[in-house]
Symmetry: D2
Subunit: 347 residues, 4 copies
């Protein structure tokens, strides 16, 4: 009889998921089988759970689907042709499976590959005991990296990618939106030598995370004017904004708070179109960067080295740890905005 394993599966359209037994997969050529040690919950998983229109459109046709994509684990086997990865390796995974053939890939812009497939979205994911992934997607961790940190490297990589759009050394940085990735980016900006880090966020719990990650000033834009506060603090504006919220208001403030010649790096996705005064962007000569995924593998290397060197500590953001069965409790914490990153212990 085929071996089975636990998995959190979107089994039907609509709200919710099920924790069920499914067959344990085998690695094919170029693939690796990883025993999941720790997984963490992303906003994407939250959307799939609550079944918003994006989830319906993207996941609907793929039901039943194992969800989850942030994880680390131990390699238990590899398919044919795999040499860089071996059994026993302690790994995390880049979740974008790319084609290597499209124009962006041939330009080493794999993070915007036209044919990207995403773990836990387009193929089965990581909220399970075992996952099969392309071996090339695995990043080998140093043995002493805590497993919760190792699992959270995927979203941390988003923060590092956003924070490295331009050098931040000696720069005044505003982070708008302090979800887990926003909170990570505060620590990253610090590690890169930022002169000052300001964090804007309406949720007081998250503002406390911002402070814990090293923000010099935390600003609640529902209580004070973000722009006026920044101008009071800096005199002339910030040099860089890391826009992590996807809030139209925050984006308008971001452009408004940047000094002429500065830049904005935008990671936060929006749920609607945003109306902007582009003339301000033009007159100020602002560089506006859309940021997706992680550079393969420059972002992973920078992140890994910052963690190993002790220049970056993300543990204040890893606020809750629970087992796989408690997944829905994690979703509830996210509903309430009462958590940083929720970490699931799998094995």
């Amino acid at each position: 009889m085929a071996e089975t394993m636990r998995a959190i599966v979107k089994t039907a359209p609509g709200r919710g998921v099920e924790l069920i037994e499914v067959p344990k997969p085998d690695p094919g050529p170029g693939e690796a089988l990883v025993r999941v040690v720790v997984a963490s919950i992303c906003g994407t998983d939250h959307h799939i759970y609550h079944w918003n229109s994006w989830a319906e459109r993207r996941i609907g046709p793929r039901i039943p689907q194992i969800i989850g994509h942030e994880f680390c684990g131990i390699v238990e086997g590899v398919g044919s042709g795999v040499t860089r990865i071996s059994e026993g390796d302690y790994v995390s995974a880049e979740t974008h499976i790319v084609c290597h053939s499209c124009t962006p890939c041939r330009r080493n812009q794999h993070h915007v590959c036209i044919n990207t497939k995403i773990l836990g979205v387009d193929v089965d994911g990581a909220f399970t005991d075992y996952i099969v992934v392309p071996a090339e997607n695995l990043w080998i961790n140093p043995p002493d990296l805590p497993s919760a940190v190792a699992a959270a490297q995927e979203p941390l990589g988003n923060a590092v990618h956003t924070a490295t759009a331009e050098p931040l050394a000696g720069k005044r940085v505003l982070v708008t939106g302090v979800g887990p990735i926003g909170a990570f980016s505060i620590g990253v900006a610090r590690a890169l030598g930022a002169a000052a880090v300001y964090a804007s966020e309406p949720n007081p719990y998250r503002l406390s995370l911002a402070a814990a990650m090293g923000a010099d000033h935390t600003i609640n834009p529902t209580e004070v004017s973000l722009r006026e506060t920044i101008m009071e603090l800096t005199g002339e504006g910030v040099d860089a904004v890391l826009e992590m919220s996807g809030s139209p208001l925050a984006i308008r403030d971001a452009i408004s708070c940047v000094i002429p010649g500065g830049h904005v790096a935008q990671l936060g996705l929006l749920s609607e179109e945003v109306s902007l005064d582009l003339n301000e962007l033009i007159f100020k000569g602002i560089r506006y960067y859309g940021v997706a995924g992680r550079r393969m593998w420059e972002t992973w290397e920078t992140m890994s080295e910052l963690l190993s060197a002790g220049a970056l500590d993300i543990t204040p953001v890893l606020t809750h740890t629970m087992d796989l069965e408690s997944f829905e409790e994690g979703i509830r914490l996210m509903d309430e905005g009462a958590c940083g990153k929720v970490v699931l212990t799998v094995s």
Copy 2:
């Protein structure tokens, strides 16, 4: 009796200007007196003539004001402390007078100086026989540069600045909006080794300028879908858009036509806010550059060398030449969209 000279002056609020006699100025310390040889008409002059809300707000308090800022001429005298410039030099002028003290200036981003004063807008301009400008603003032209070309270097510099936001060699480039600066930028992209240049513009006269400047394909977006046409021509989109129109529709098309990993450089000013799908910018990892003015002096140097080397010929865009007295005829041509750049012979 004080010497006088002719000048086109905004003498009163509302539509129109007057050609009157005004006192000839003297250069102060650090300044130079230039006899204007050729001047050319900018869209800004057109706005001041027609007295739109921007002109009312910006020029209103400064009436009476000599207008015009694109010109070349011969230095007839310099004030104290001027050494780089001498009598007899054949010069054009950077029109941004900058402070050298603000943070952008101290970062060598003079083109976005916080205290910029613009010739013909904030101080007296160039539609006159003699103009006094800070000597540091003068660019010395090679003696064989045609005077109409020399005068048009100021707007040509906008095109060069926009086209050099990133290297265009081997890239597919879309220019949206073929006013004079858009038309210039087609030639610049060609000179920089662009693989292909597509030009989008509703005005057929201007589309013919695009072709004359070397566009491979000209597209009338009121007749066909710009996005569909670009996708048919390129398969996957263009690598770069030089957005010269300030049209909300063109901006939305620009983002839509760019391949993942590409960039947009935006020079065209808008008359209203624009509603954008920023997620497309994010998912594609697009770099969006607001472009203002000209880099001092990198843009001027690149431009000057491209012209001298014969890699760039802008004369097809210099469609009409007339004398200073015929200024309003130039305005009428611009009203009708029946011209490229209108050049005024002054002396």
Copy 3:
């Protein structure tokens, strides 16, 4: 009986090669079989023929070895797992076979892969009727690209890589050494908008190639002082040197001819150590780039597009065409310095 094919093979240590019949190879997984249409002779082939110390050390252990690596051809079959390339494709080849696992590869610096294997040096080469290469190494050419040009893209890529170390638009460029790659680089600099191109080379035949490729000035450094000539022509030095000769004297001149703030890109390999005044490099703040291979695949794309757009024409450098059997005549022409690139028609 196994099918055979012609091949130019290094069959024994010492000077010379043999044209013999060898078994026709089959493509394995991930590989493609290419019928060679045109191949061209590189300085490396010349070294292997004459058996210098490098060749003895590198090729010695691999005898018998088919040599040659610059070629184009038609794909006649592919091994398992190949999807991007199909039978009938008209292709050229990147000659560096890289590992994708070392640190430089993971940083998208494949051109300096630590485990590089080179066609015709570390594995069998292209002076033959059929060659098997990794499918990922193939670049698909547009159908109208002349086959001699298609074959010469490998060395042309070296020129493009060197010329794109920094933007050359509007810059004064000195090319030292006008072998085929040096000659190519003159055309590339022109296509990228260089203000002026100066070429230095002692061989009069090659100086004429420099002129044919668009050099503004050709300089014979055995007749005049290169440095003095450059200073006379430019007043203050060139902005960039593309060093293609590997001559210690040229390298010292290169550093000496560059304006403060300029750069040198060094492709020419040396046969000995060179003694340099590094203080000049420091005081002038010069950026000195060692250049190897071609960026995968940015360099190939730029090159391909410059050729397709007609911005670059390398045919003046392709001075001699002969059949495969005449290979040694090509070597003799190279001995005499009486050729540009020698092209071999294979099928």
Copy 4:
């Protein structure tokens, strides 16, 4: 009777200096008079004291000359036309007085201005009670910056300029030569997020400074092979070398220790030519940067912000403090290699 002040003056060719009374200067147009609070001794001052061939050639024609250029102080008066600087400002000085007219200056590469004059070398210097400098050369310090740190910003700026040749975040960095600037650069690399910093230096006292500044490993290249040690520690080499020694052996090691695709930034001046294997530079695709002075004013801003943010602490390098009269004791400490930076309290 004219007011006088103390000054350390090179009064005659040969070894030594004199502390004498000289007239107190007055600021001319565009200049500022600064009361020196703290000055520090540079290797250049050491060379002038000992009168090496460089000093003889450069200073000889200017005797008598007040020496010294690293300092901070309080502005006591300004000449006409000075607005950015006022009496009472707490300032340090960029020591390169630049022309703003040469090509490098016009390209915003003022640090390699062709007409640079250096404080304490080409014009009177800072080992005195009062100094007159161009007001544009003054950097306004935050009031809480310790004066010894403020004075040492000039050489610290060399370290920052060298360390910012490319981003160091997540990179393994080797510093060769741990004089004061080398020691500073260790702290700067750390502040910029370096993964690991290795320091090489034969002087044990200086190696202890390296450790105090945060080097992970200190290496004495007279005791072990630098290259072998680096390869043991890193497996494949370092990503960047900051070459601060000017030692030919260190430079050869630097190139040898860098991973393919890495870079070397060279600040250390040499006393002789160096013989190099440039092929290693080429095959590895290394970028080699000559570094001079400080970028105006990007380097100053980055430095100032790193200090203010507490990301960088250079006080371990400021090992000795004494009064102006004890200058020769400072020189003796430097002779013995028994100091970091020697700081002179002036007022």
